[in-house]
Symmetry: C2
Subunit: 221 residues, 2 copies
Amino acid sequence: MDTKQRILDEALTLFSEKGYANVYVADIAERVGIKAPSLYKHYKNKQAIFDAILEEMNRRFLETAGALQINGADAVADADIYKTISEDQLLGLGRNLFLYFLHDDYTRRFRKMLTIEQFHDKRLADVYMKQYADDPLSYQGMLFGLMVSAGVLKTDNVQIMTLHFYAPIYMLLTICDRDPEREPEALNLLDAHIRQFNSLYARDEDQVNENKKKTNRRNKS
Amino acid sequence: MDTKQRILDEALTLFSEKGYANVYVADIAERVGIKAPSLYKHYKNKQAIFDAILEEMNRRFLETAGALQINGADAVADADIYKTISEDQLLGLGRNLFLYFLHDDYTRRFRKMLTIEQFHDKRLADVYMKQYADDPLSYQGMLFGLMVSAGVLKTDNVQIMTLHFYAPIYMLLTICDRDPEREPEALNLLDAHIRQFNSLYARDEDQVNENKKKTNRRNKS
DNA sequence: CTTGACGGCTAATTGCAATTAGCCTATAAT
DNA sequence: ATTATAGGCTAATTGCAATTAGCCGTCAAG
């Protein structure tokens, strides 16, 4: 069937486990079920395989961008959600993000490969930073900005609040990447983190009620 | 002079920039100012150089353990410090940790090498985790535990509070490792993070005063 | 039915980089 | 003064892994 695609897939798996230099073209071929020279019918050379993976990753990334959701509802489309977000919804947001990053097969392998090869090629460092630092921070920063405007969360500095939300998620992710057995422990910490985050940043009760009234009024009109 | 040591030093620099597999024995030799075959007078083979770096790192790590200080005062020895710690001292703690990790030449190169090679060898993943996740969390957890007992900071969950303090530092560190030009930006975020952390977790003013009285009383007796 | 593109194979070839052989000098110990 | 050792060099050697050459079967288009 689609040998060309299978090559990319197996190559990504191997690169993510051992790094580009430690993977032999023959290894990739074997996994695909062909001999090494046959690979060259599909790709010019080993580097071309690597580059094709990068391209595909870039394509998928653009497709997926902004597709993260809160409990099935499209996050950006319905800004009203954030006016009454509950602790449970915040938990959902964090868990979705964490589990998507951790379990999505393509994402996970790709992240590991980036981690290994990032100092080899500045392009990769940039992709890594964008995908795991800048983009999540700016996306969530926007969400939290909405929540703060709505009075659901309270802070002087949304950027730092976002860092407080995301940095622990990022750190737990790097822990699980290195040692998958620690995932249960990480999930517990994740929940505890988000609950504590919520109680630190949630508006006072007065403000909650105030806000609910406003929302009700708006909904009636 | 001490060629054997210079080999380790140059090798570490190269490994941290390009990864073990992409560094040629001849590169290391050139940097040291000798020819490749001469290296074998000092080390059995390339792998032995790598292993020697690991050993040396382990030795230095044990030496340095617990040597982190708050503004020059030994952190662990004088637990009283934490009873009246100020925002500035907290800033000092965070900056010291961050700048030590980021600028200490040996630490920085070693961390980059670990990052690149961690999936190649489980030992390295373990060292990385210990050095950049578990140890900092448990060390700071202990400090924060003292501060909470002393009533300087307030929380239900010291472990999560520690994560809230350290995870952003860790994340900013990984950003600067990949792109040193972002260090000024990271330092600003670091300060803002710690100030916000302090205002989120600091005891109420009542409790401050309460605590100061107690401390004074204790000091007088 | 034949032809050409596709994709597979085996058997070279190539090229590089680690390592070894073997030699040479300086110096420190006997 | 002799000699052994440490540490450097040049010139092989080795070995592996990427790549190329060249062959073959299949199958779809004409």
